[in-house]
Assembly symmetry: C2
Amino acid sequence: MKNEKIPYKIYLEESEMPKSWYNMRADMKKKPAPLLNPGTLKPMTAAELGAVFCDELVAQELDDTTPFIEIPEEIRNFYKMYRPSPLVRAYCLEEKLGTPAKIYYKFEGNNTSGSHKLNSAIAQAYYAKKQGLKGVTTETGAGQWGTALSMACSYFGLDCKVFMVKCSYEQKPFRREVMRTYGAAVTPSPSDTTNIGKKILAEHPGTTGSLGCAISEAVEVAVGSEGYRYVLGSVLNQVLLHQSVIGLETKAALDKYGIKPDIIIGCAGGGSNLGGLIAPFMGEKLRGEADYRIIAVEPASCPSLTRGVYAYDFCDTGMVCPLAKMYTLGSDFIPSPNHAGGLRYHGMSSTLSELYDQKLMEATSVLQTEVFEAAEQFARVEGILPAPESSHAIRVAINEALKCKETGEEKTIVFGLTGTGYFDMVAYEKFHNGEMSDYIPTDEDLAAARAKLPAVDL
Amino acid sequence: MKNEKIPYKIYLEESEMPKSWYNMRADMKKKPAPLLNPGTLKPMTAAELGAVFCDELVAQELDDTTPFIEIPEEIRNFYKMYRPSPLVRAYCLEEKLGTPAKIYYKFEGNNTSGSHKLNSAIAQAYYAKKQGLKGVTTETGAGQWGTALSMACSYFGLDCKVFMVKCSYEQKPFRREVMRTYGAAVTPSPSDTTNIGKKILAEHPGTTGSLGCAISEAVEVAVGSEGYRYVLGSVLNQVLLHQSVIGLETKAALDKYGIKPDIIIGCAGGGSNLGGLIAPFMGEKLRGEADYRIIAVEPASCPSLTRGVYAYDFCDTGMVCPLAKMYTLGSDFIPSPNHAGGLRYHGMSSTLSELYDQKLMEATSVLQTEVFEAAEQFARVEGILPAPESSHAIRVAINEALKCKETGEEKTIVFGLTGTGYFDMVAYEKFHNGEMSDYIPTDEDLAAARAKLPAVDL
């Protein structure tokens, strides 16, 4: 097996790196539903969005017709610091599993942010700088996005204010310290530095916070500060656009060796990694040029695609953001405290939601103990300690490879390995000590959260 | 500057990876002094060493005539999981410094052990497996070597017992947890599981341990357990041999673009990284084919080359190991508790000591606050959070680049970036909070430690 011509790691040359991002929406016949103004229930205009987001990012957010958008040279130069990322042939994992399947993973963890999040962070920081802004605000949960944005802002000399979900802030002091190394100001959320934070603290004393709440605080500070805008690390169309660099590199690397994948697998929280990884493949599917099985993997404890509803919902707890049509569990939904790592957002990218609704991709959910089993198995043979988020994709890739073992099919499986787990050792420790539990929300839990969906009927 | 043909990262093809390690000693006219039996003061025989180390590693340890030793295919395949490592052109750092110098760094941190240590760990585990052993024992200080060995043992299905210096064990629970992910048993040292540990605990109650002490415990367990041998992550000739893969790749990458370095810089604790990085360059120097400035950088708090003596000394606190002739501070020397990270061994590789004594390389020492300043500056522009150890080399590379700025010289500087600092955030936090201090041992401190050197006069 090891004598095949395909190397362990396929690296593109710098000259082969993508020069444009790919915008899936341009090839969708039925487009994702627009963001709505929560007051008027009319589609958000560029002017309205411009109060919150950078102008050029607003243009990208609203553009559902241009298939390729050029990557500015400054961003391409930054990408060269840590990209192209390797497409790895998982020879050792295949051998360990005894599967005839061919497994590849696109590894995005070889940068200090530890994940793919840097791909969009640097783009958003660049446009903020270009607009002459002083700084940006954001939220972070597990900490990967906040770290990535800190790095990007440090590079362009922008101020960076991060609201970090309080339970993560307390459990992950090292994440906070990395952000400080890059000069960011990190505030645990909910905080008493914002009106919405004070309100949430008053209503829920002792709350350990949620992404939805941290988003509300970050938006409030951005809108209320001269020269600041808010940036978001997932869910939005612009983020999926920037992350398409993952999929474009993956496809270029596969094409170089004439490899056509059968199955493409990615973990899905807000959809940034999955949307980026699948972009060019989904493009072929949308244009009728090729077919692939595409699988979104989400935690059983936060199952927006597999158990949510497709409806307009608030993007944040404080209801200060536009409404988005998406698969959602309701903006009040917070995964059980025993849930480790990210993938804890109540909703899902509108684009991915629409593609899922059109049955162009599948979704499945997995239990976290099964996820950590896969993570450990993978670490031992592939030498990379995966992030809990990424390990959701590993779990399903292993499951599919084991199915091939039963049937004898030599399927080609590609999955996204979004990042590393260096800052998730508390969760690994729980797993090693047998203290990790699983959680599946009951139908009653979900119904209660859904009851608070806004009444939008278009 | 960015339009030059040299890419940000030079990756070799798998086919260009070294197939042999390079043994500097073969080209040394005056060889490093042999290890001595502490009882007889005679050179250690292969049979004597074989009680502690694997047979094939003993052969490598004693071989000072064979210049190239083939890398077994199994090891080369493992190397392909995470090698070749990139040789990075530090364009962003150069721009930030405004220097005409051209700076390159060989980055060894893109693997889960987080450092170059894996290069030798996998080799040592391979030979242990080949010899049919059940397992190996070792010590670890900052934790990089223990992590690397855990990964390597997990890959070959060997048992792995790690004695971790107690202060690191307590300060770095996440390091311990990574080792557990790879199935290693980790014991804080000194422990009550060995005779030497009990003795040290009795003599120094409340001690937080040292590398020298952990080595003694690991050797005791290896020698006393059927089917076990001891392995070491630095200092030894065999380790420098395996680590030559760093230098060989570096040289191949430079040669590909016709680049000849003027200065080569590496941090030096026991010498594993420095010895590996400089190997082929020193080879050219030894054979009179080329000349390079080679600089070893050590912490001011543990200055074995710059302030030690060149003499036979014990390799460990318990005095169970052979005597080595090396630049040493005395086997009782323990760096001040405020010293962060590794590079805390009292001695230095015999080979590097001899090369230094022959004035074939320079040495300098740096203060840790200066080191962390350089680390943060580097992280902000190059996007990699460096390990404290590696940052010693960064500090001196920046200093040399700034000298070039003054003189206008376009020197080419190559340094070794041995690893990442993800598990060193406690030290970074101290630095951010202004709580980091410097320590320089007094002449009296050093004289006291030196007074205990064994009386060996050959």
